[in-house]
């Protein structure tokens, strides 16, 4: 038992290429797990498998007690919300309309939905933009709208809720990126199992409980932040010097940068 979402020896093959190779990943309730690794390491592919959007070539995915693909789709959507990398919307829906789409799996009383939508808008700082058309938003704002939709879908967060975010902060400014990462912690504090793909190693080390480091589709390291964040491992995987500094109880992780002189 244990683990809101469990991937067991999951592999994804496309033709002869192996995108994900025998990966085990357990997303625990109440924890944020960050998936890190270089470009093309298979992070997004792994997240797609976890999200149920891609059936693995081999291996199993369990959502709670059952195999994920045996859970009826609406029920699965109530327990597992997914924010994709691409936050484009085809038509000029308003932000509020997009966020309200997150309530699709619920079909409950309207008032309840309105509360969830308003709360999600508020949490992502979009209340002032609620009536704007998403097609007129900047990339970062659109990403926040997608995040708000995912939060609306995940409401109410309970033990067993799974929230998957694929590079949620890639287009956001530093303030909104921090707020978003802080939000993942708060969702976890409410009992959600959060999985997030991140490129920013320092952010991953600061906000995640556990890290999964992927290299060429394989797990290179998996465990608590302190275990995974080792300079020699990260430097080898990324092929560039990475330093890990202890800054008073928390790690600062980043590339080694040359000193500027003159």
């Amino acid at each position: 038992m244990s683990g809101a979402l469990r991937l067991r020896s999951v592999s994804v093959r496309m033709g002869a290429r192996s995108l994900v190779d025998a990966v085990d990943l357990t997303l625990e309730s109440g924890q944020v797990t960050a998936i890190i690794g270089p470009n093309g390491a298979g992070k997004s592919t792994l997240l797609s498998v976890a999200a149920g959007q891609l059936r693995p070539s081999t291996g199993t995915v369990h959502l709670g007690e059952r195999e994920a693909h045996r859970v009826p789709s609406a029920e699965a959507a109530r327990r597992r919300a997914v924010m994709p990398q691409d936050s484009a919307v085809a038509f000029a829906f308003t932000v509020r309309e997009v966020v309200a789409m997150g309530r699709t799996p619920w079909r409950k009383a309207k008032a309840d939905d309105d509360t969830a939508v308003t709360a999600a808008l508020d949490l992502t700082g979009l209340t002032g933009l609620a009536d704007r058309e998403v097609t007129t938003l900047s990339g970062g704002e659109r990403q926040r709208a997608a995040l708000a939709r995912v939060i609306a879908q995940a409401t109410p967060v309970t033990e067993g809720s799974v929230i998957l975010l694929d590079e949620p902060t890639s287009a956001m400014d530093v303030a909104h990126a921090e707020s978003t990462l802080a939000l993942t912690r708060r969702l976890a504090a409410q009992g959600a199992a959060v999985g997030v793909v991140l490129h920013d190693l320092d952010a991953a080390a600061s906000y995640a409980d556990r890290l999964l480091l992927l290299e060429n589709g394989r797990v290179r390291a998996h465990g608590p932040v302190q275990e995974v964040c080792r300079a020699e491992v990260l430097s080898a995987v990324y092929g560039t010097p990475v330093e890990v500094l202890d800054a008073g109880g928390r790690l600062r992780v980043g590339p080694v940068r040359p000193a500027r002189t003159g």
Binding site: A51, G52, Q53, S73, A74, E75, A77, V82, P84, A88, V89, A90, F91, A92, F93, T94, E97, V98, M101, G102, T104, T118, A119, A120, D122, L123, G125, L126, T127, G128, L129, A130, D131, R132, E133, T135, T136, E141, R149, I151, Q153, T155, P156, V157, D173, A175, H176, E178, S179, L181, A182, L183, R185, R186, A189, Q190, S206, G248, G249, R250
Partner: protein
């Protein structure tokens, strides 16, 4: 800084830098287990806590109440107007109601005007009188010459025009939502081309004139078969994606078009004329039977489209996001295409190929009431009926004593109008067309 600064902070636009509660929570919560946040962040947290008393619990939350707990965010900034006063869902609903009322009024006018026009001149008042007398009073429509003209020729034609327009517009609306593209049209999936082949076959074979219902039946069957062919050929790996559907549609449309041309080549002079006129689209063969069958199919199709319209909206987020929200994308797409095919098929079967109604009605309505299918599906039924009703009036009156093919008219007027709309849309708010 102290609490007097609070109002300023509160009304600070949220989209400018996260210095509101959204940013505040970031200051307070990420490092709950952090030994020593800087005194500056402590201060900022304190100010914001003062500034936003309603959500004080949230600002200091880490393990406490947080997102998604109803009541948590209630009342916060709810009454504040956003900095960007754009049309929103509420006003879109209001606009939809106004548009519906306007279209209903237009529909009544179209019925009266359309029915009063013709060689045997009548006034809208006489039309209304006849309508009430026969429909409510139970008078015999054939007893009076005026009643007979109205009830055997004009009313069926007007009814068919409205129904065909409604069918085409609803099908176009669903098609655009389905393809998440405002330029999608039912003809993409081969409905019209298939119907043309079916119609051409029976005309050339000579069955169309000898057996009464073979022409519409063959057209409808052709529409269904070719759509099924496009659907099955575009499936790759058990899924039909939009791009594959469009490309397969182009290829099949070309083949079906060539097949129709071949039938025209094979046929004798009268068959050729019949095929060509059928392809132009005309309402002159309307009867109560054809209008009745169209009405039944239209109602069934409309009910189906109304039932799935909320889910079609979600497809605008992309197939992956839609399926992550529990929408069985593949099944929904198949069902929607079937509905589009049946609606368009019945329209084409009785009225021939009438273009642009399915494109222009949803496009225009979207500019007024926004892109949600919740409003667009019912409104486009009204809009399509009004548009084709008007087009039919024009087709009968533009050239005196000549009955222009209504399909020619909709294309002649609809094409340029669509260009104008398109250019305005593209120039406007950056809608991704």
């Amino acid at each position: 800084m102290s609490s007097p600064a609070a109002p300023g902070l509160r009304s600070f636009p949220e989209d400018q830098g996260g210095r509101t509660h959204y940013g505040a929570s970031a200051v307070a919560s990420p490092t709950d287990d952090d030994a020593a946040p800087s005194s500056a962040t402590r201060r900022a947290g304190a100010v914001l806590t003062d500034a936003v008393p309603v959500s004080a619990g949230r600002v200091s939350s880490g393990g406490g109440p947080g997102p998604g707990i109803p009541g948590d965010a209630v009342g916060r900034q709810g009454g504040q107007p956003g900095p960007h006063g754009r049309p929103h869902a509420g006003s879109r609903r209001t606009r939809a109601l106004i548009t519906a009322a306007a279209l209903c009024a237009a529909l009544v006018l179209v019925v009266l005007v359309s029915s009063s026009l013709g060689q045997f001149s009548t006034t809208p008042g006489q039309v209304l009188d006849s309508l009430l007398r026969v429909a409510l009073g139970g008078a015999d429509p054939l007893a009076d010459r005026l009643d007979a003209t109205l009830w055997t020729i004009r009313f069926p034609r007007t009814a068919l025009a409205l129904l065909v327009g409604a069918c085409l517009a609803v099908a176009g609306t669903v098609m655009q939502g389905l393809f998440a593209n405002p330029l999608a049209e039912p003809s993409i999936i081969g409905v019209s081309a298939g119907a043309s082949v079916g119609a051409g076959l029976v005309i050339v074979a000579g069955a169309a004139t000898t057996l009464p219902w073979t022409l519409p039946a063959a057209a409808f069957t052709g529409a269904l078969l070719v759509t099924a062919l496009v659907w099955s050929l575009s499936r790759t790996g058990g899924r039909a994606v939009v791009l594959a559907l469009v490309l397969t549609g182009i290829a099949i449309n070309a083949v079906a078009g060539a097949a129709t041309s071949f039938l025209v080549f094979l046929g004798d002079t009268s068959s050729r004329e019949q095929i060509i006129f059928w392809q132009m689209g005309t309402l002159s063969n309307a009867t109560w039977q054809s209008a009745g069958i169209t009405a039944v199919v239209f109602l069934a199709g409309l009910l189906g489209c109304l039932a799935i319209r909320g889910r079609i909206d979600v497809l605008a987020l992309g197939d992956r996001s839609a399926s992550a929200m529990g929408i069985p994308v593949e099944r929904l797409r198949l069902l929607a295409i079937l509905l589009v095919c049946v609606l368009t098929g019945v329209a084409v079967a009785f009225a021939g190929v009438i273009s642009f109604v399915g494109l222009i009605v949803p496009h225009t309505l979207r500019l007024v009431v926004g892109p949600s299918q919740r409003h667009l599906v019912p409104l486009s039924a009204l809009g399509g009926a009004v548009l084709l009703g008007l087009a039919d009036i024009a087709a009968r009156t533009v050239i005196p004593f000549a009955d222009l093919p209504v399909g020619v008219f909709t294309a002649l007027v609809g094409g340029p109008l669509f260009l104008v709309l398109l250019r305005r849309t593209l120039r406007g708010s950056g809608v991704q067309a």
